[in-house]
């Protein structure tokens, strides 16, 4: 039992990272129905720019982290303005192809910098030690990661449920023509969604960097690992992103703890979440919390 709980807790820590990364993904999908394959690259840009600000001009880490959030959000905004604005009204598949292209271009550019080559760690900014939870040692970095995630998720849910701007963004996702007729600027909403996605990508980059260090390949691969999380939770649901992310994290850890010993070579943690994903989609094709099409007869 003790062992099980420990696995669950470490699964929650990993899962909250997935949830945060999935949030950025969901934001873009919710506003514009676009699947952003370059999300992992933004996560990496967020993490490395914080590292750059903290080690280059030797700014305090909190300031560097803040700058990284702003910079990546701005980058998301620019991406929409430069590459995607012209594609409004074009088939979604064209837009998705652009994001795939963008992912490889950004990947290539980052490999040209020194960051592409090796592993880095953020300068120490947290006190040593941590708390003991059910016999599991959780250091402050992990606690901070979970707290940061919860904060972001709560803020964005409130934004979408309560603020007029958030409701207008959902309206754009629902019917662009009708939104235009009410004076909602669809272009502005798309740009805003990309900026917000950049912001959350940077946030998850910061969290991953704090817990596990910085490695270009590992950071960008999170962009793909969020797929099972968002599809499990439902592509357009924030609460779905949270539940999906946490579920995938916990399943990964449980598979690692129990199944790896049974399978020669291990590695079940990579497969098991997808098995569960398939089973869930069997019964709920829109994901656990995804929006079902409303058809009146």
């Amino acid at each position: 039992m003790q062992y099980f709980l420990q696995l669950v807790i470490s699964g929650i820590v990993v899962g909250s990272i997935y949830a945060l990364a999935a949030l950025g993904f969901v934001l873009i999908y919710k506003a514009s129905r676009v699947i952003n394959f370059a999300h992992g690259q933004y996560i990496a840009i967020g993490a490395f720019s914080a590292y750059f600000f903290a080690t280059g001009p030797k700014l305090p880490f909190v300031v560097s982290a803040f700058l990284a959030l702003v910079l990546t959000a701005f980058l998301g905004f620019l991406t929409e303005r430069i590459f995607l604005k012209k594609l409004v009204g074009q088939p979604i598949i064209s837009v998705i192809m652009v994001t795939i292209g963008l992912a490889s271009v950004l990947d290539g550019l980052m490999h040209l910098t020194p960051f592409g080559a090796s592993n880095y760690t953020f300068p120490k900014f947290l006190p040593q030690g941590g708390v003991n939870l059910l016999g599991l040692q959780l250091d402050y970095a992990q606690l901070l990661a979970v707290a940061f995630t919860v904060l972001f998720l709560v803020l964005f849910s409130l934004f979408f449920q309560r603020s007029t701007l958030g409701i207008a963004m959902r309206a754009v996702a629902d019917d662009q023509m009708a939104s235009l007729s009410l004076g909602v600027s669809v272009e502005k909403m798309f740009a805003l969604a990309w900026a917000a996605a950049g912001l959350t990508a940077a946030a998850s980059g910061l969290v991953v960097g704090t817990i596990a260090g910085l490695n270009l390949g590992a950071l960008t691969s999170i962009g793909l690992k969020v797929f099972p999380a968002v599809i499990l939770g439902g592509l357009d649901s924030i609460s779905g992103a949270v539940v999906g992310g946490l579920l995938i994290g916990v399943l990964e850890k449980l598979a690692e703890g129990y199944l790896d010993a049974l399978v020669p070579g291990g590695g079940t943690s990579y497969v098991f979440p997808f098995v569960i994903l398939l089973v869930v989609l069997w019964f709920k094709p829109h994901g656990l919390f995804g929006t079902e099409e409303i058809e009146r007869v």
Binding site: G89, T164, R170, A171, D174, M177, L180, S181, L182, V184
Partner: protein
């Protein structure tokens, strides 16, 4: 007794003037060939005509919604309170005070009724939204009972009421209604038109309504235009239109001899359609 076709100016100061506009889609398909109309302030103006006459295009030209459809006003002018507004972005036009209720209602299906209404107020910065929400519920009591329901699960009539209420929350000076009777039961159509008439009378909102159902539209409108294949074929006050023998025959379905027209005479409609 037949009344003279009195000018729209006689009914009030002109709020909106569409002056000889031509609209082209995709640089090649011309839909409007010189449409001119005037909407007097504080009144209900009807734009009637058969399918494909260009009524919806005229409304879209006014509200700026041609742009997403790849359409453009290539000549002529649209003036709202003396200011040129053609080919402006739709959000600018909403800010000027013109809001369109699109054809087919187009409510936000996955938003609740109240959230739909709040999207209507998205351009406003003042603090009166709460009171206005109450006013909308006063005119459409059904919506209050449904305020937490997803709009997609409301009936057609409820959705039409929601679409009108949503547009009213933007506090328009001019409300454009595109085919509000579409797909609704006759009783419901009459209810919706009588609410529109009340809102016009009590709130002073000017209305321009596009309809195929000439009978119900002329029951509330003060002035009317009849459009056929891209231009205005006839105009006049309600009484003038209701007494015009061609309008009676082709739009109100009343035969010259009085009484309702039989379907047997439909063929002559085709032959005599271009009565201007």
């Amino acid at each position: 007794m037949s009344s003279e076709p009195s000018r729209p100016e006689a009914l009030g100061p002109i709020l909106l003037e569409v002056n000889n506009i031509e609209v082209v889609y995709r640089d090649i398909i011309q839909v409007l060939r010189g449409v001119s109309l005037k909407v007097p302030e504080g009144q209900i103006t009807a734009l009637l005509g058969p399918n494909g006459a260009g009524k919806t295009t005229t409304l879209r030209a006014i509200s700026g919604l041609l742009i997403p459809e790849d359409g453009e006003v290539i000549s002529g002018a649209i003036r709202f309170r003396g200011e040129d507004i053609h080919n402006r972005a739709p959000e600018n036009i909403v800010l000027k005070g013109i809001v369109q209720v699109p054809e087919g209602r187009r409510v936000f299906k996955h938003l609740s009724v109240e959230e739909n209404l709040r999207v209507g107020a998205n351009t406003r910065r003042d603090s009166g939204v709460k009171e206005d929400l109450e006013r909308i519920y006063h005119y459409f009591p059904k919506l209050r009972a449904l305020k937490d329901r997803l709009a997609g699960y409301c009936s057609g009539g409820e959705q039409q009421m929601l679409a009108i209420g949503r547009a009213l929350l933007a506090r328009p000076r001019l409300l454009l209604l595109d085919e509000p009777s579409l797909g609704l039961a006759p009783l419901l159509v009459r209810e919706i038109f009588s609410i529109v008439a009340r809102i016009n009378a009590e709130e002073g909102v000017t209305v321009l309504v596009v309809e195929q159902n000439a009978r119900v539209a002329l029951s509330v409108a003060h002035y009317g235009y009849i459009m056929e294949s891209g231009h205005i074929a006839l105009e006049g006050t309600r009484d003038h239109l209701q007494e015009n023998p061609d309008v009676r025959e082709f739009y109100l379905g009343v035969a010259k001899s009085g009484g309702r027209k039989s379907f047997r005479d439909v063929k002559s409609y085709r032959r005599r359609k271009r009565f201007m």
